[in-house]
């Protein structure tokens, strides 16, 4: 039996919540922005008015203001976004127990077993949109399909507040003309590799030779080929399912550049203490420590090293992290961001 999978995406989530709570912002170009004082001064999210003027997530604030001089920057309120995300999930869980979050603002739902109660996929999608608008005051786009990949693609196709259905009969005419970069897991690096081989659309990818894709992208190439042909069978996990933790890391962008060894030492120690505390919480030990360094010219690199024995003390993590920093940071450039992962 064919599955019925929904993907719900809360439109411009952070910006929509901010505009709801501050009605005077509605209609104006708005961006949720990090704190420039702490050097987190980038656009985290924007509304449609700002998007229309070319403002993009990740733009530094000065660049956003240049594109859109009357833009309003507001600080983020994560507690509010968490609360909204939680209520949305409560709504979803009234229709199925298979609800898999993808970030705060997106969720997959498998409603195959719920259609006798609530109607077909489109009817459930429309009901969800209506309820989210009424109960949360924000809008959602919902994709309906028979696998997760096409459901996600569907939710991206019409925005805001729309339902898009991609059936197994019609996916070739709907999905194949789209640029290959629209497909989930085709990031920048994969996209440029595919471009080199003239694979520009999802249809090109679907009709490419599997061996060629394996040659270009390894196992991922085969996976993407299957996605493009509507052959994704990955399940939607159950609500409350915890994802498997493979590693634990922390990072920080310092309020000012870190110049001396003492600056680096203090920052790495704080990060290692946090990583170590989380490892104890989850009962992990590690063999390897990885550091990430970004200098003041935004050049970044990662290095990893092995511990002499499996461990989770902050001291052991720190000693390895600092040793690697001293070994690899030969440029001596001031450091902007640091990360530690174990």
């Amino acid at each position: 039996m064919q599955r019925i999978i929904l993907h719900s995406d809360l439109n411009n989530f952070y910006a929509s919540v901010e505009c709801l709570y501050n009605p005077s912002l509605r209609g104006k170009p708005v961006a949720v922005a990090g704190d420039p004082e702490a050097r987190h001064g980038i656009v985290l999210a924007k509304n449609y008015a700002a998007k229309a003027l070319g403002v993009q997530t990740g733009d530094p604030l000065w660049a956003a203001r240049r594109k859109c001089p009357n833009i309003v920057f507001v600080p983020p309120h994560y507690d509010l976004y968490m609360k909204y995300s939680q209520i949305a999930r409560e709504i979803y869980s009234e229709y199925t127990d298979q609800v898999e979050p993808y970030g705060l603002d997106e969720c997959w739902l498998d409603v195959t077993g719920s259609t006798r109660l609530f109607g077909d996929g489109k009817a459930i999608a429309d009901k969800l949109r209506e309820r989210i608008k009424f109960e949360l005051g924000v809008t959602a786009s919902v994709g309906v399909s028979y696998n997760k990949i096409f459901a996600k693609l569907g939710s991206d196709m019409k925005k805001p507040d729309a339902t898009t259905v991609i059936t197994s009969e019609r996916f070739r005419e709907i999905v194949w003309p789209l640029p290959v970069s629209d497909l989930l897991y085709v990031g920048r690096a994969t996209h440029s590799k595919l471009q080199r081989y003239g694979i520009k659309t999802i249809g090109h990818l679907a009709q490419s030779d599997k061996d060629l894709l394996h040659h270009i992208l390894g196992q991922n190439g085969i996976k993407l080929w299957m996605f493009a042909n509507g052959l994704d069978t990955s399940p939607v996990s159950n609500i409350g399912a915890k994802s498997l933790i493979k590693s634990i890391g922390n990072s920080t962008t310092a309020p000012r550049d870190l110049v001396t060894d003492e600056d680096i030492r203090i920052t790495l120690m704080i990060l290692c203490q946090s990583v170590s505390a989380r490892m104890r919480e989850y009962g992990f030990v590690c063999n390897t420590v990885q550091i990430g360094v970004r200098d003041n010219e935004l050049h970044s690199y990662e290095r990893q090293g092995k511990l002499s024995y499996p461990n989770r003390t902050a001291k052991a993590l720190f000693q390895k992290a600092f040793e690697m920093y001293k070994l690899h940071h030969t440029s001596g450039k001031p450091v902007r961001s640091l990360s530690v992962r174990a």
Partner: protein, 79 residues
Amino acid sequence: MARKVFVEVTAKFDTEGKITPLSLLWEDGTVYEIDRITDVRRAASLKAGGTGIRYTVKIRGRQSYLFYEEPRWFVEAKE
């Protein structure tokens, strides 16, 4: 657009956990008794900005919305 006015509410909590607002204290110091509750549902307030459990209440013959946006209560007031 409306003003979001947080108000002090006197409410009854029954043994099932159901909350019934009984009266509210307006910003000028007047206490308004809630005569009747005609609807309870989760709803957003687009006018004042927020979301919560919306009580449709009758106060002195007039209908208005009282929102329980945990842990506070608010009403939509004219500008």
